[in-house]
C-alpha cells in the first residue's frame, strides 16, 4: 500500500510540475472565453428596420448585376418548438450599416437568429461565440468526440477541413438549403463540394496568394511596377538587383517560420510553373524540374541578400517593422494584409505607397492566380428531419443579400453569390485581385485537400532546411514529395 501511495505521489509530483508555467494551456475553459448567450424570443430590434448598409442602400456605387435571390420560407412552417445551437468563431464586429447590431463578436449571428425568431417564434437559438483558431478547433473536436456538436458552425474552412473528408459528420447543404446553394457561384460550389456533398456555405472569401509592394521604394529607385500586376521573373530579378542595398535593404520579406505561413512565400514556386499536386489533390507533383528551379531561385535570392535576415523564424511583427521602415519593399499579400497595412500608417517611418501585385512568373509559365480562403456555415448531421428542415430554411433566410452582403463588404470579399453585387467595388486594391481571379481563375493550393494542415506542418522543416542550405534542393523536394504522398493517402482524422 505504501508503494502504491509512493507511485501516486510520484505521479502527482510529475503531473503537478506538468502544470507549471512551462506547460501550454491551449484549451481555454469555455467559461473564460465564450460569451454564450441565448437569443431572446422577442428580438429587441424591429424587423421593419431598413439598414443603411444594405446593398440597396449603397446601390448608387455598386453595379446592379445581381440576380434575384428568391427566398421563401418553407410552407407550411413546422409548429413544434425547435432549438438550434450555433457556434461562431470569426465574430467580426461593426458591420457596415448594422453597427448597432454587431458591436461584439457573435452579435451578428445573434441578430440573424433574432430576426428569424421574430418570424418563427417557435424557433429558439442558442448562439455561442469563441475566440481563437486552434482553441476553437479543439473545442469542436472535443464536442464531436463527445457526440455533442452544435447544429450550425460558423467557421473557417482552412482551419480544419478534416470534417469535410469524414463522411457522416456534416449535412449536404445543397439539399437542405436549396436557395442559398443555388445562388452560390459555381467556382465556390465546386471548391466546397467533397464527395458530392456541399459542406460549407461561405459568408465571405479572403483573397490571398499575391504580394504587397511599397511602390514608393520602386519610384525612388526609378523602377516601374507592372500596371496589370503581371511580372516576369526577368523583370522581377532586375528590379531586386537594383533595390538591394547590402546590410540595409533586402527587397523581399518572406516567412518560412512555420507551416502556417506557406502561402506567404510559395507563390515564388508557383510562378515557375511548379505545381504542388495534381488537379484532384491525390498525388504530389512537387518533385519536378520546375519546382527544383523555383526552389533554387529562392535559395539564390537569399544568398544574394534579396531576402530579409531571419526569414526562417521571423514573425509578423518584425516583418511588418521591416516593411514599415523601408528595409524591404515586398512583403506578404492577402486581403487582411492590405487592411493591416492601412492600420499601420502611424508606424511608417518612410515614404509608403502600398499596392498589390501578382507573384513573378516565368515568361513561359502562366501568371499565378490568387487563392481564396473562406469562412462560412456548416451544419452537423441532424437526426430530426423537422429540425433539419428548419435549419436549412434558416440558412436560406440568413444568406439573403441584405444579411450576407454587409459581412462580405466588411471582409473585403469578392462576390460569392449570383445575388450579390460585387462587394469589392469600393476597394480598388482588392478589386484588382478580383479581376485577376476573373481572368485567371482561383489557384488551388490544396487548402481543402485531405490532411492539408498535416502536409504543411510535416514539410515546413524540410523547406527551411533547403532554404538554409542544410539540405540540397533535390533531396528536399524528394523528401517533401514522399511526405505529401504518404499524407494524401492517410485517412483524415
Amino acid at each position: 500500500m505504501r508503494r502504491l501511495g509512493a507511485v501516486i505521489a510520484a505521479l502527482a509530483l510529475v503531473a503537478g510540475a506538468c502544470g507549471s508555467s512551462a506547460t501550454p494551456n491551449p484549451v481555454p475553459s469555455v467559461e473564460s472565453t465564450a460569451s454564450g448567450s441565448e437569443v431572446p424570443t422577442s428580438p429587441s430590434v424591429s424587423t421593419s428596420e431598413s439598414p443603411s448598409g444594405s446593398p440597396t442602400a449603397q446601390g448608387s456605387t455598386a453595379p446592379s448585376t445581381a440576380a434575384p435571390y428568391g427566398y421563401a420560407a418553407i410552407s407550411p412552417f413546422p409548429t413544434q418548438p425547435v432549438t438550434i445551437t450555433l457556434w461562431t468563431q470569426p465574430g467580426e464586429v461593426a458591420l457596415p450599416g448594422f453597427e448597432t447590431h454587431s458591436k461584439n463578436p457573435g452579435d451578428w449571428d445573434r441578430y440573424l437568429a433574432a430576426q428569424y425568431t421574430a418570424l418563427h417564434p417557435n424557433v429558439h437559438f442558442v448562439v455561442q461565440d469563441f475566440a481563437g483558431g486552434s482553441e476553437f478547433v479543439a473545442k469542436i473536436d472535443a464536442a464531436l468526440q463527445a457526440g455533442q456538436p452544435p447544429d450550425i458552425l460558423n467557421w473557417t474552412d482552412g482551419l480544419n477541413s478534416g470534417f469535410a473528408h469524414t463522411s457522416g459528420v456534416l449535412e449536404d447543404l445543397s439539399k437542405i438549403a436549396p436557395t442559398a446553394s443555388a445562388a452560390l457561384l459555381p467556382a465556390y460550389k465546386k471548391l466546397y463540394t467533397v464527395n458530392g456533398s456541399l459542406f460549407l456555405m461561405p459568408t465571405y472569401a479572403s483573397i490571398y496568394n499575391f504580394v504587397k509592394v511599397n511602390k514608393a521604394m520602386f519610384d525612388a529607385a526609378g523602377l516601374t511596377l507592372p500596371a496589370d500586376g503581371n511580372w516576369t521573373y526577368d523583370e522581377f530579378n532586375a528590379d531586386m538587383a537594383k533595390l538591394a542595398v547590402p546590410g540595409k535593404v533586402w527587397p523581399v520579406a518572406i516567412r518560412l517560420t512555420d507551416w502556417v505561413t506557406t502561402y506567404d512565400w510559395q507563390g515564388f514556386l508557383w510562378g515557375y510553373g511548379c505545381e504542388p499536386w495534381n488537379s484532384t489533390l491525390t498525388v504530389s507533383t512537387i518533385n519536378s524540374p520546375a519546382c527544383l528551379q523555383a526552389l533554387q531561385w529562392l535559395i539564390d535570392a537569399n544568398n544574394k541578400g534579396w531576402i530579409e535576415p531571419g526569414a526562417a523564424t521571423i514573425d509578423y511583427g518584425p516583418e511588418d517593422t521591416l516593411f514599415n521602415t523601408c528595409a524591404v519593399a515586398i512583403s506578404y499579400g492577402r486581403a487582411n494584409a492590405v487592411q493591416r497595412q492601412q492600420g499601420m500608417a502611424a508606424q511608417t517611418t518612410c515614404p509608403m505607397d502600398v499596392q498589390i501585385e501578382q507573384w513573378p512568373h516565368l515568361a513561359s509559365a502562366p501568371p499565378v492566380a490568387p487563392s481564396v480562403s473562406t469562412d462560412g456555415w456548416s451544419v452537423f448531421t441532424q437526426a430530426d428531419p423537422v429540425k433539419k428542415q428548419v435549419i436549412g430554411d434558416f440558412i436560406d433566410f440568413a444568406f439573403q443579400p441584405q444579411y450576407s452582403m454587409p459581412y462580405a463588404i466588411q471582409q473585403s470579399s469578392p462576390s460569392l453569390y449570383t445575388s450579390w453585387p460585387n462587394p469589392l467595388v469600393s476597394n480598388p486594391d482588392l478589386l484588382k485581385a478580383d479581376t485577376w481571379i476573373a481572368q485567371q481563375g482561383v489557384f488551388n493550393d490544396g487548402v481543402l485537400g485531405p490532411n492539408y494542415l498535416q502536409i504543411r506542418q510535416q514539410t515546413a522543416p524540410i523547406w527551411q532546411s533547403a532554404f538554409l542550405g542544410q539540405t540540397s534542393p533535390q533531396d528536399a523536394l524528394s523528401q517533401i514529395d514522399t511526405k505529401i504522398n504518404i499524407l494524401l493517402t492517410t485517412p483524415s482524422q
Binding site: 510529475v14 503531473a15 530579409e308 514573425d315 518584425p318 521602415t325 482524422q493
Partner: protein, 276 residues
C-alpha cells in the same frame, strides 16, 4: 483525504489515464479505434518527433546543470549579504518568474532581432552585423537555451537561499570552531546538508525544461528546420493544430515515462542526506 483525492482523481489521475488510453487509439472526429502500438510506432519513426526528443534532451542536459550551478552560486553569494540586501536580490531574481514567459520571450525576440535588435546594434559597433541567432540551425537552440536560462533562474535561487538559511547554525558554528574556512564550510557542511534541496531543484528543473513550450512558440516555432522543436511543442501542434490526438497522447506518455525515470533517479541519488 477525500477533499484532496477527488480533484486529484478528476483533474490529474483521470487525464493521465485518458491520455494513456488515447495513445493506443486512433481518435477521429466521431469515433475512436484501438490501434495497439501504432501511434508509438509512428512517433518513433517520425523525424520531427525524434528531433524533438533529441532537442529536449539537449536542453535538459545543458539547462538543468547550468541553471542549478548558476542559481546555487548566486544564492551562496546572496545569502552572505545582510537581510535587507537578501530581500532586494530575492525580488530582483524573482521578477522574471512573476512576469509572463510570453512577455519575456517577446522582449528577447526583439533583443535578438537580426536587423534592429539590441544585440545586433551592439555587435555592429565591432563590425559584426545581422547575426541571425534564432534563424540559423547551428545557433537557434543555444539562443533558446540562453533565453530559457535567463527566465528560469528565479525559483532555484529563492529555494537555494531558503535552503542555505535553513542549515543549522550550531553545525556551522561547530565547523567554524574546528577552524573551517568559508569555502570548506560550504563544501563540507552546507552543500552536503543541501542535498535534498539540490535534488528537488534538479527534479523540478528537469521536468520544467523537458516541457518547454512558450519560449519555443514565441521565438522560433520549432524552427529553423526543426532545430528547436521540443516534445511539448510537438504535442501541442499535433493535438491542437492538427487534431492528431492519438499521436500526441503517445508523445505525452513517452515524455511522462522519460521524465518519471529521470525524476526517480535524481531523487534516489540526491534526495537523502548522508551524515558521514
Amino acid at each position: 483525504m477525500a477533499p484532496f483525492l477527488l480533484p486529484f482523481v478528476v483533474f490529474v489521475l483521470w487525464p493521465i489515464i485518458a491520455a494513456i488510453l488515447s495513445s493506443f487509439q486512433r481518435v477521429g472526429y466521431i469515433s475512436r479505434t484501438w490501434v495497439g502500438l501504432a501511434n508509438y510506432a509512428a512517433v518513433l519513426t517520425d523525424n520531427i518527433s525524434l528531433q524533438a526528443f533529441w532537442n529536449t534532451g539537449v536542453l535538459v542536459v545543458w539547462v538543468v546543470p547550468l541553471e542549478t550551478i548558476l542559481s546555487l552560486a548566486i544564492a551562496v553569494v546572496v545569502v552572505r549579504l545582510s537581510r535587507r540586501w537578501q530581500s532586494y536580490f530575492r525580488v530582483a531574481f524573482y521578477v522574471p518568474v512573476v512576469a509572463s514567459s510570453v512577455i519575456l520571450s517577446l522582449i528577447w525576440l526583439w533583443l535578438l532581432n537580426p536587423v534592429y535588435g539590441l544585440f545586433d546594434q551592439f555587435l555592429g559597433i565591432f563590425g559584426v552585423a545581422h547575426v541571425d541567432w534564432l534563424g540559423q540551425v547551428n545557433t537557434a537552440l543555444y539562443a533558446v537555451m540562453f533565453v530559457l536560462l535567463s527566465t528560469s533562474l528565479g525559483i532555484p535561487i529563492i529555494v537555494f537561499i531558503a535552503g542555505l538559511n535553513a542549515v543549522p547554525r550550531e553545525v556551522l558554528e561547530a565547523a567554524k570552531i574546528d577552524g573551517a574556512t568559508w569555502p570548506n564550510e560550504l563544501r563540507y557542511v552546507s552543500l552536503p546538508l543541501m542535498r535534498p534541496v539540490i535534488g528537488f531543484i534538479l527534479v523540478v528543473t528537469t521536468i520544467g525544461t523537458s516541457q518547454v513550450f512558450a519560449v519555443v512558440e514565441l521565438l522560433t516555432k520549432g524552427g529553423p528546420a526543426s532545430s528547436t522543436e521540443t516534445v511539448v511543442y510537438q504535442i501541442w501542434e499535433r493535438a491542437f493544430a492538427l487534431n492528431d490526438l492519438g499521436f500526441a497522447s503517445a508523445l505525452s506518455v513517452l515524455l511522462l515515462l522519460i521524465t518519471l525515470v529521470a525524476a526517480v533517479v535524481q531523487v534516489r541519488t540526491l534526495g537523502r542526506v548522508r551524515y558521514d
